[in-house]
Amino acid sequence: MVSFILKRIASGISVLVAISFFTYCLLYFSSANIARNILGEYASQEQVQAKEIALGLHRPLLTRFFEWAGNALHGDFGVSWFTSEPVVSAITTRLPITLTLVIVSIVCIAIVATLLGMAAAVKRGWIDRLVQGAAVVGDAIPDFVLAIVLVSVFAITLKIFPATSSISPDSGADAWAASMTLPVIALLINGIASIAQQIRSAVIKQLERDYVRTLRSRGIPEWEILFKHVLRSAAPAGLTVLSLKFVGMLGGVVIIEQIFALPGMGALAVQSTSMGDIPLVMGVVLYTVIIVIIVNLLVDLINGWLNPKVRVS
């Protein structure tokens, strides 16, 4: 198990290095106007050149990358070129919002989709048709359309929730809960629809296996067969889809964050990329990659715990 984790961590680090370098290269080739954009329209050409030198934009790609990587290894991600805000503080004030949004959504999706998927697989009939129908409808409705409908109904007409985020540093749990509910629901529908479908298929496949018949013939209660054996064997399929959904959401929440004016990572990523704020973009990329690696590692570990065959392979 330890060597399994070590292997995963090693591959994670190599992915991290590769993505950092690749991102830095992309930013390098699109960094033509950065100094001009920082100084504004009225700065003279000499000032722009001086700023380029001050930021080190005139130096070769590899020199710049290794300097950034060296500082990053010491925990120094620098400051935003545009706002002078330290990169770490810019990210750490926004990360909790995005992570809360994504994690709460994923947990809700996991619970609801599992219940619905299992019910559909075991019970079939109307609930199965409902899940299948919902999967098609849910997939067809984009998150942001749903978000706009939710705002107009629950925030503007019924006034139950705030239309945009009311989270501030001194807000309590109630402000967080109120501000997060509609965005989470907007993310849930699509996720539940597609993952319930996956779990339904996996459970049906397991229910047809010989071991289920054997367990039943030994008189083991149906609930025990379902939750202890079938679900355990069907889980890896669902977990993989959930982890993919999580990674997709990290990037996909940007539109939801914008509609609800949630000060999360999405807005920061879009803003910093459009301006060419290299230290901030690199910080955002690095944090995101680390989160994705951790999530993948956790999914692998849970899969290994659920299914001994994974550990062996």
Partner: protein, 509 residues
Amino acid sequence: MKFGPKSSALAVLAAAAIALTACGGGTSASGGGGGAAATTLTLASLQDLKTFDPTDAHIGHRMPIYQAVYDSLIRRAPDGKLVPMLATEWSYNKDNTVLTLKLRTDVTFSDGAKFDAAAAKANLDHFKAAKGTDAYQAASMKSVDVVDPSTIAITLNSPDPAFSYYLTQALGLQASPKAIGTDGIKTVPDGSGPYVYDAKSSVKGSQYVFTKRSGYWDKDLQKFDKVTIKYLVDLTARTNALVSGQVDAALLDPKSGKQAEGAGMVPHKSQVDWQGILLYDRDGKINPALANVKVRQAMNYAFDRKTILAQQYLNEGTVTDQVFGPESGAYVPELDNTYPYDPAKAKALLAEAGYPKGFTLKIPTVASYDPINAVFKQQLSDVGITLQTESIPDANYVSDMAAGKYAAATFNLYQGEPWVAINQMVSTTALYNPFKNEDPELTAMIKAVQNGGANSAELAKKVNENVTKNAWFVPMFRLNQMYFSNKKIDVQPELQQAVPSIYNYAPAK
């Protein structure tokens, strides 16, 4: 065991319950607009500030954030008149090159430092040296002298009819001399304004919270206990926040404005910008066709401005053929009939200019201009001109235009003080005259405006007539600025300004 209908229904209910776990406390969060007699003001801002350093301040959308914490030397009233603020009186010498300002003596900054002539000089000198976002405002400033502790004299290189206006904007903002040029002021402002920054409740890039400064010298400018400015870049989010009562005022657009009006919000419409095509390459360096005045005039005749305004902007604006606005003093009403929609005349002019089959014009475009550029393309193609659009990143739009990469571009420009407008798009130093076009007659007219003193706006009419007749631009419309507020507050729109100044809001009477 099989799931019966009851347990299935239970599972669905459980799913719904989980999805709605966080319902509690929802209503308590939507009270941003304040209670019955508003003691708080919450505004939506279209733009975020770069830093709190006054040298990073920028006219328009970001100014209210700076105005909350910094006083300026002179204040601009809603009707555009300049009134005392930190400077109690000011006057020019005979040849308009030395401006002497008398300053208040009872003002202190957040850190306890006193405001005096030395502090004002330090601020002005630093603004010029820092060459920040609005550095052009200090371009004509040669030196600042302390005459006595409450008087400064600003010497200009040459007369600048807009200089006292600039002292109401970024150039006039006064920070504590102890904080000027430090890194600290970038994240925590240190001024003497009506409100104090509440760093603990603020989040960079999301919201800025300010509380009433105790002992502020002008209670009339301090009408709320707390002011919050939320950065809401998304139009839908701004509209929703306003309609649901989370913010008290926001800038919308004609379409979302209809929704806000339907929800009982109060419109405050004013015309700030003109929109049209700026024909930069009037010497034909990269597009020879534009060197011919007949070609430029043909382009002006090619547009059915009234129909475009109705279809694209729901008639929220006025069609125009000139780039100076009605309140600028340089406006000539008759000029608005210079180029009526006449495609036949446009074709005839193109033929006379040697382009009977038209020509191709390449312009840059960004997402926000895509819809209007599509319309321009259609109308120009009707007279034989092919408009090619090249998509570029938003951040590069202005810098690419300023670098002379395009012969023309669609843009919105401010219709303000004539001297500001001339230096923005007509003079050889103007940012939006990238090819430095000039002709001796026009240069003489510009010189006359510069030295015209109180008469300069009147003299600017000649400049207006010249650039209109010579078709330097294809002006289309003066668009309505669709500013909306709820009924808890009173708002006075500010002449020729994108959004009202922070002083223009008051609790509803």
